[in-house]
Amino acid sequence: MTGVWFLDVPENRPIVDVVAQDPTVRVTRVGPYFGVESDGAIVIDRRSTGVRHAVWYSCVAGLSVSRITQWDKDALRVEAR
Amino acid sequence: MRHVRVGLVVPSSNVTVEHEMPLLLRRHESATFSFHASRMRMAKVSPSQLAAMNAQRERCVIELGDSDPDVMLYACLVALMAAGPGEHQRVEHLVAEQLAAGGSRALVRSSAGALVEGLRALGARRIGLVTPYMEPLARTVVAYLEHEGFEVPQWRALEVEDNREVGRIAGHRVMAAARSLALEGLDALVISACVQMPSLDLVEPAEAEFGLPVLSAATAGAYSVLRAVGLPPALPAAGRLLRPDAASPAA
């Protein structure tokens, strides 16, 4: 299983909104964090989020038994460890 | 025997403090003292000349700092008091900061702060004051001491503006001014609130005549210097403040 965490601040909302539309992911909430889980890889397209670079490159709060395999101007990709 | 270097910041026309401080401190039984003075130009004791003199303070401190003194005394009482309440604390702080910034360990005192320290050590509340100043300046000194918590119901201003003249005021004039005060109910008499007005020889006779503690800018300065460097503040024939058998003063 793949799991990535985002802090609930206004700047991160577009990212969570985009990933929530993916039918393969589940979005949970622990305190002020969104937990995004999936049985496969989690992929977020940067352009579809519309966030600034500074936000994009600091949006990940935590990784549950997962690792980042891509984090660049195109996409964030998280896969099971 | 311990040796103490005393730096003196003095008005250029002052001739008394460099005379009276050595006279006083050479009577100390457990230390020797040397005196190193730096001068600020000042001829007339007027507000504008006092302000101009204070601007020379930093240079004087630089010069004296080079002599590595143990303690530095800013020896012009009225220059500080004329600048308004609390000025001696402000200036002592600035000089201490200047010295500390350059790594000097010299302690800093002022004759204005020393007079307050001496009066407090005597436990005095109501005091009499003889000053050489023009009356407006004398009023400023009175107000300064009142701000420090003293009552000054009795005071005299001899109205001598030329500072060289102040250094020549005869003792009998100072005593006459003191005699004209109503001293009943006072806790102490400041026979000279000025380091330039000669008064050292008057302190003991005045105590005998008036029956109350008498101090001067010079005896208070010596007291403060001794306390600063951790020596017993005891000197013979310099009044109650410095009497060796005096009860140890309140801090």
């Binding site: 622990v30 709060a61 935590g62 990784l63 | -």
Partner: protein
């Protein structure tokens, strides 16, 4: 007497001090261009065991009573300049730029108008703004002062939220936990931080909600 044990007692920056070999440029930059008043100066000499030259220590007001201060030492030779750096530290070309810039002073302003006013002043001077950047939640302008010190003025795009304080604490706790592992990476930190989120974030939220409840519904008062 008040018990001060454990209390947060400091109140901002008294002064941050830097050496200068260009006091005239420094006064022009801070006092004349930025408009920070000179508020204090000390003239002194090296009287201590370390025999240093005569010097001037001078201070500019950076707001809130805080101060930036400089030392100018008379006759002290400027160290031979390597490729980059400032009056305090020089770096060879092997040292990356991000590292050289990592140590810097950032002054705070309250509004976009204030930030743009300082941008205007700098752009009209010999030290124009080199970049203007929006980070996550702040916007900053940058230049180098006459001494080569990297200088920033910044404003908040929005107030910091309570959850960001929690997040910062979880990040730092995670960092402290993993930093002794050989070869540790950001990946280790994010894995450890996910554990801390699961452990602590829920309880934190309940506590926040309880506090909010108390504020919005004072006991005994009902509309």
């Amino acid at each position: 007497m008040t018990d001060l044990t454990g209390r947060h007692l400091v109140r901002g920056v008294d002064h941050a001090a830097f050496p200068t070999f260009d006091p005239a440029g420094t006064v022009t930059f801070y006092r004349d261009v930025l408009g920070l008043p000179v508020v204090h100066s000390i003239c002194a000499a090296g009287w201590g065991p370390e025999d240093h030259p005569d010097f001037i220590h001078f201070f500019f007001d950076i707001g809130n009573g805080d101060r930036i201060a400089f030392f100018y030492y008379f006759g002290l030779e400027r160290p031979e300049r390597l490729d980059r750096g400032d009056s305090f530290a020089q770096f060879g070309s092997d040292v990356p730029e991000y590292f050289v810039r990592s140590r810097h002073l950032a002054l705070h302003v309250d509004s976009e108008e204030a930030l743009l006013e300082y941008r205007r002043r700098l752009d009209a001077s010999s030290w124009p703004v080199e970049m203007q950047l929006q980070h996550e939640t702040i916007e900053s302008i940058y230049t180098h002062d006459p001494n080569g010190y990297f200088f920033e003025i910044t404003r908040a795009l929005r107030p910091v939220t309570p959850q960001e304080d929690l997040d910062a604490n979880l990040t730092i706790d995670a960092l402290v936990d993993i930093v002794s592992r050989p070869g540790h990476t950001l990946d280790d930190l994010l894995a450890r931080k996910a554990e801390l989120i699961v452990e602590r974030a829920g309880a934190w939220q309940e506590q926040q909600d309880a506090v909010r409840q108390n504020i919005t519904q004072p006991s005994g008062v009902h509309a």
